[in-house]
Symmetry: none
Subunit: 207 residues, 4 copies
């Protein structure tokens, strides 16, 4: 019994090591150049081990995407949970999170876009990304709904949520394309100005 637990502990451990190695390597190589050898090497394990744990390169990549997706979601959720029920603070929390030093690194963005670029050909990637987006979408829509109500204006919560999310993704891409001039503070400012221009009463004062 104990042994079995130990074993499954080890297994989990190896899985994690391999996924971490995948991410690390993906951040400097792109999916094409990533080899199973890179992954196992980076995890300090041996060649065939990846197939032992993940059956397939494809499954490894899917699990990796799932991993970073979950990682993102946890961080996302944490950023809004601590804000009680203030939609203003929730939105600010989301922006702060999306451009935090933990989330918005060039390495992680690169990994994301690696997967994005394959969305069209890999249904599994598509689904995971879509799920994340739908969740993000529904949360922000609700927030914007509240803000629209409070601001007492006529705006489509859907459109504004879509625009908000698009803006953030576009700024992430910017960080990929233009790492030298990109900076987190400016990106956040652009987001805040987006909100401010739509909800002047509620956001004029801050920032």
């Amino acid at each position: 019994m104990k042994q079995r637990n130990l074993r499954s502990e080890n297994k989990k451990n190896s899985n994690l090591k391999l996924i971490s190695s995948t991410i690390k390597n993906l951040s400097k190589k792109g999916i094409n150049e990533l080899t199973m050898h890179d992954v196992s090497q980076g995890a300090g394990l041996s060649q065939g081990i990846v197939n032992f744990h993940f059956k397939n390169k494809e499954f490894l990549l899917i699990e990796t995407l799932r991993f970073i997706s979950n990682e993102y979601l946890h961080s996302f959720q944490k950023s809004i949970l601590k804000t009680e029920n203030d939609p203003r603070r929730k939105l600010i929390g989301i922006i702060e999170n999306d451009f935090s030093k933990k989330i918005c690194t060039r390495e992680k963005i690169a990994v994301w876009f690696t997967f994005f670029s394959e969305i069209k050909y890999k249904p599994a990637y598509h689904q995971i990304c879509k799920e994340r987006d739908l969740y993000y979408q529904s949360i922000t829509e609700n927030i914007f709904a509240e803000l629209i109500k409070k601001e007492n204006i006529k705006l489509s919560k859907k459109n504004i949520a879509k625009g908000f999310q698009a803006l953030i993704m576009g700024l992430w891409l910017d960080q990929l394309e233009d790492p030298d001039t990109f900076n987190r503070i400016q990106a956040k400012k652009i987001c805040f100005e987006f909100i401010k221009s739509n909800f002047p009463k509620q956001f004029k004062r801050i920032i």
Copy 2:
């Protein structure tokens, strides 16, 4: 003389056919899965010809990126040239172009993001993309500068241009991720609302 012209005509023709084939294939395969065989086959030519015209796969891809980049720029320029000097109409022209049936197809977007995802590892891709962006950036900054002046408000032309561009890229990505619900009209609407909220006096009436 005639002969030579005919020859170089043929050569150009083959080049074009190969690049077209590359784009077509890239839109359904991703760089990894794209084979030289696919490309030559798709162009109705034989195996080794790609290496004859482009030296190797890498150069083929670079030329392909350059091609779609130029194609985009021509379309972009055309969209603002016919608007005389009205910044409002210029901006509208840009949006209309960016989400036109010609530019904003899922196929083309897929190709763009295929290259974006490799930016970090391929300096050649990086440079081409950056050039395009800088151009786009400088043009839109100037437009926004005029709009800011006319609107008589305090806004950073740089930030608003960056936000604008990011918004568009994010919406392009949205079309990749969510092709079923995405529609060009909504995307344009989101863009117009972005402008309207920043320049209410100049854009309130239209749309």
Copy 3:
């Protein structure tokens, strides 16, 4: 522990099989026509294995040259070790070895000349061949030095050693060019006559 030994045994074994196959094939094909497929096939192994063990064709060839060079040197050394300190017998041993059935086969000579022909363009080949030659040269020089002393004549040990080595290489080439009339005994006789004419007192009687 045992496992590891077995594994490395197997690895060595495969290496050897591949090099042997390379030699066998080189003796009937020449470097150009030699394919990796030939090599693996001849070793009873599969395609990619050669690259696994030797990185690429070039390294395989270098290791092969190193192998036949070592093989030659071992044989060479054995031929002089058992002769105590008699320079006469040493020289005879060298000649016997150089034209023995084991060393002077048309197959092996062909392999040697295959490599010789590339010396000028492949520094790695050059070095291995040069090392072998320098060793041969230094050993024979010493032998000739002793013979010169004993014979009490005035001769350059360097020149005679160079001439001796050249003669042998030339006869090897002869065996390649004229396999029908070439015979080991005649070759050896020519060598002995070379020596006899230079050291008549010491070699007159033998042979």
Copy 4:
């Protein structure tokens, strides 16, 4: 008529240019790496032209070998023709020729050995080389026969001729393997010593 002559003149000219280019390229590349493109480029002509003139890469190489073989033979014959009927002077002439600045260049030697290395697999090469050797052999055998007679000793003219030729080939190879220390004068000296030791009466004085 005139035109036809002009044409065949041109043809001969092109042939020559292509063979020269082959030799030049062979001296820095080895047969493996030599491409038809190299050859035509080097001759200042266009790609397909080699096949037009020589049908085949193989035939080009054969013609090239024939060319250098003839070139050698002309030089060889010239070196003995001007010596009237003195076998001593003939032999000296041959040696002088074989290690002349014109014949014994590292480039030319490299070309020779390139062909030697393929002798075993290419009957056409074999034949050309053999013919040259037989001629050389018969001439030197006759010379040595005269010398043996004059010297009044018991020696096999065949063996001595074979040894002589082998010595020269071995020294050529030496120049390939050890271009830094090799020098023409030393090589000739070694040859002369070979003769001197066999025909002391006739060669003691010279050199």
